[in-house]
């Protein structure tokens, strides 16, 4: 289920450069212009990857999320920044399971956004069965 707030006392995220130099960190922050694939050799020791959304229009993080999940990352994948309620459904489909929006979201709106679409046309990173598969069993 979706978490909205950063848990107290968790390890702070380090930058990608710092992470690649420092083998013991377990939480990393990926800026929107950084290559998610740089993390692929290290996924098994990461608990948290925070992906930055500096502006809601900057959609690079959606690809980053999918790439990390497609590479087998099973830890927490957090969308941080200009994260709005109308993007949450797409973010979840791209593998994000936690959200740290700069401005608080109305929980009822989040719930509505996440339950609006009973099915989806295409496969993504959330494990949803695409409509074409439902059609053909």
């Amino acid at each position: 289920m979706v978490e909205h707030l950063q848990a107290d006392g968790e390890e702070p995220c380090v930058t990608l450069d710092a992470f690649l130099d420092q083998s013991n960190a377990t939480a990393v922050r990926l800026e929107s212009d950084e290559d998610a694939r740089a993390l692929i050799p290290h996924l098994d020791r990461l608990k948290l990857i925070e992906v930055a959304f500096p502006k809601f229009r900057d959609g690079r993080g959606y690809s980053s999320g999918r790439i990390l999940r497609e590479a087998g990352f099973t830890g927490e994948l957090r969308a941080q920044g200009d994260v709005l309620v109308d993007q949450i459904g797409y973010l979840k489909r791209c593998g994000f399971d936690s959200f740290a929006p700069e401005k608080d979201l109305n929980p009822a709106d989040v719930e509505a956004a996440l339950t609006r679409w009973p099915e989806h046309y295409q496969g993504a990173a959330d494990g949803a069965v695409p409509i074409w598969k439902l059609r053909h069993g």
Binding site: D58, R93, I131, H136
Partner: protein, 543 residues
């Protein structure tokens, strides 16, 4: 044609509910204009000079008569009794009230239509050949692939906040009637060794930096169509420029990387994406393709056409095209009457075209990128009755592909981006060349007008193109020659200094006079231009 199943209907219904909620929250000031803007744009709602404009999707330009009647109903109930058919095979309404938009979307959903992704930085309506499924020269009907892409691209979670808008066209004939290579991705279904595949042209476009899409892959197996498209998009989403809106289209990325490097990155991504299992099985393609089966046409129908009415005969020669089934024809309805607004149709005209489709064209219509309407499956024996009905409604102008069959953007009469008006210029040119015999003598001459550098009127691709600009506060029109959006794709070249509204009409006449004096037998305008070059035309224009 494709009919929604419960899943398709559910998607559209959910979208209607979502947008109604977003409008409600916006009207209640819970979401700001800045936050609402991308949401309304993804539902085709623009804020124009005078009002909201709603753009309704017509996937690959295909409609049935019930849907066409709904377009008339919307024009009548929510707009000023007319609609404007666009260069992307859609229709837009110019005088919409924001608070009506949810009800309009609900009306559309009741006939399996929507305005999803007709705007915004996402994958737009998939366009195609308006003669698909009927053209005598096609390899196969491209629309099942377009429908597969429509479903894949609808609410695509990764590609809804791209650097910029993204347009895909699919064709399956050598003759390109969809300006395929001027799209972000142009797909041509081709045959190699008896097997069909997809040639991918990526990075074309018009706008302020027009580019012809280079060939990125000459034969993608059709089983991999979606994976390959997804790989093309992922490379763009990750590396397309986001620092400058004017450099954000995929054409700029491919131009900066080079086609070879872009191809290398796509192939690398594709090798990975292919493993994700996102391509539907053949059974899904077959399910879709079955719905595009040719209607039951009687191949023994008469091939004779009674040409005794001379006006009818002229229309047949100009506006009727060859069908793949004997005894049948494709009717092209011109929305370019003399003095009219290119692409506009009244609700009464839209209803009439729906009636004709129901009666004579197996319930099917098409919208063309040249802003005309097509009845794709007509018996030759019915052509005269169709022509009579069209003629009575001012829809039988026999000018397909002639100089008065003008593509024009809405321009400064409507559009908030425009620098100059397009519509009055189109009207003046049509008036100047009003004599039908003169137009026919000039032959195929594609004239396209844009009221600003964004090129919605395809001026780069006109045999003759006109670009309206703002020059020190007055409207000024630049003239371009030698473009083409067809299989002989090329980009027009500016002749020289621009003109005022009357001056541009005079300049075009000097250009066409020059063509008539230079042409050799069988040469179209653009052929003569390519043979003799700009110099003689420049001389004729500027002395």
């Amino acid at each position: 044609m494709y009919k929604y199943d419960e899943y398709d209907q559910q998607m559209v219904d959910a979208r209607v509910a979502e947008f109604a909620d977003q409008v409600k929250r916006h009207l209640a000031s819970e979401i700001t204009e800045d936050q609402f803007k991308p949401l309304r744009l993804m539902n085709g709602l623009y804020l124009q000079l005078h009002a909201y404009m709603l753009r309704v999707a017509v996937p690959y330009g295909t409609l049935d008569s019930r849907q066409m009647r709904m377009l008339a109903h919307i024009a009548r109930k929510y707009d000023r009794d007319y609609g404007h058919f666009t260069t992307r095979q859609n229709i837009q309404y110019n005088w919409i009230k924001l608070e009506d938009a949810p009800a309009i979307l609900a009306d559309l959903a009741s006939v399996e239509m929507h305005a999803i992704q007709t705007s915004g930085n996402c994958i737009r309506n998939i366009s195609s050949d308006q003669w698909a499924g009927a053209a005598a020269d096609e390899l196969t009907d491209p629309r099942p692939w377009a429908e597969l892409l429509r479903q894949w691209s609808s609410f695509h979670p990764e590609f809804s906040y791209l650097p910029r808008k993204f347009k895909i066209a699919v064709i399956a004939a050598e003759e390109d009637r969809a300006a395929m290579r001027l799209h972000d991705i142009g797909i041509q279904i081709v045959e190699k060794g008896g097997v069909h595949g997809a040639a991918f042209y990526v990075g074309g476009g018009m706008g302020r930096t027009p580019m012809i899409a280079p060939l990125i892959n000459d034969f993608v197996p059709l089983d991999d169509l979606l994976s390959y498209t997804e790989a093309c998009l992922r490379v763009y989403n990750r590396y397309g420029r986001r620092d400058n809106i004017y450099k954000a289209r995929i054409k700029i990325l491919i131009h900066e990387l080079g086609a070879d490097e872009y191809r290398r990155q796509v192939e690398e991504e594709f090798a990975h994406v292919k493993s994700l299992g996102i391509d539907p099985p053949k059974a899904e393609f077959d399910r879709i393709a079955a719905q595009f089966a040719m209607p039951p046409l009687d191949a023994s129908a008469s091939d004779e056409i009674d040409r005794s009415d001379p006006d009818f005969a002229v229309w047949v020669d100009q506006n009727v095209a060859a069908h793949k089934v004997p005894g049948h024809a494709i009717v092209n309805i011109s929305l370019k009457p003399l003095g009219g607004i290119p692409g506009d149709a009244s609700s009464a005209q839209i209803d009439l075209m729906a009636d004709l489709a129901g009666k004579f064209s197996h319930d099917e219509l098409r919208v063309t990128h040249a802003q005309n309407i097509v009845l794709p499956h007509v018996r030759k024996a019915d052509l005269f009755a169709i022509w009579q009905a069209l003629d009575a409604a001012d829809l039988a102008t026999p000018n397909l592909d002639l100089i008065s069959d003008i593509i024009a953007c809405p321009g400064l009469d409507y559009c908030s981006l425009a620098n100059a008006r397009s519509i009055p210029v189109a009207q003046k040119i049509a008036q100047r060349f009003a004599d039908p015999a003169r137009q026919r003598d000039l032959g195929e001459l594609k004239l396209k007008i844009s009221g600003c550098i964004n090129a919605c009127g395809h001026h780069h691709a006109g045999h003759i193109g006109i670009l309206g600009v703002d020059r020190k506060g007055t409207e000024n029109y630049q003239l371009l020659l030698g473009g083409s959006g067809a299989e002989d794709v090329s980009l027009g070249t500016i002749t020289g200094p621009g003109f005022d509204e009357d001056g541009i009409v005079d300049a075009i006449e000097r250009v066409t006079d020059k063509y008539l004096s230079e042409r050799t037998d069988g040469e179209r305008f653009v052929d003569t231009y390519r043979r003799v070059g700009m110099a003689p035309f420049k001389e004729a224009i500027y002395g």
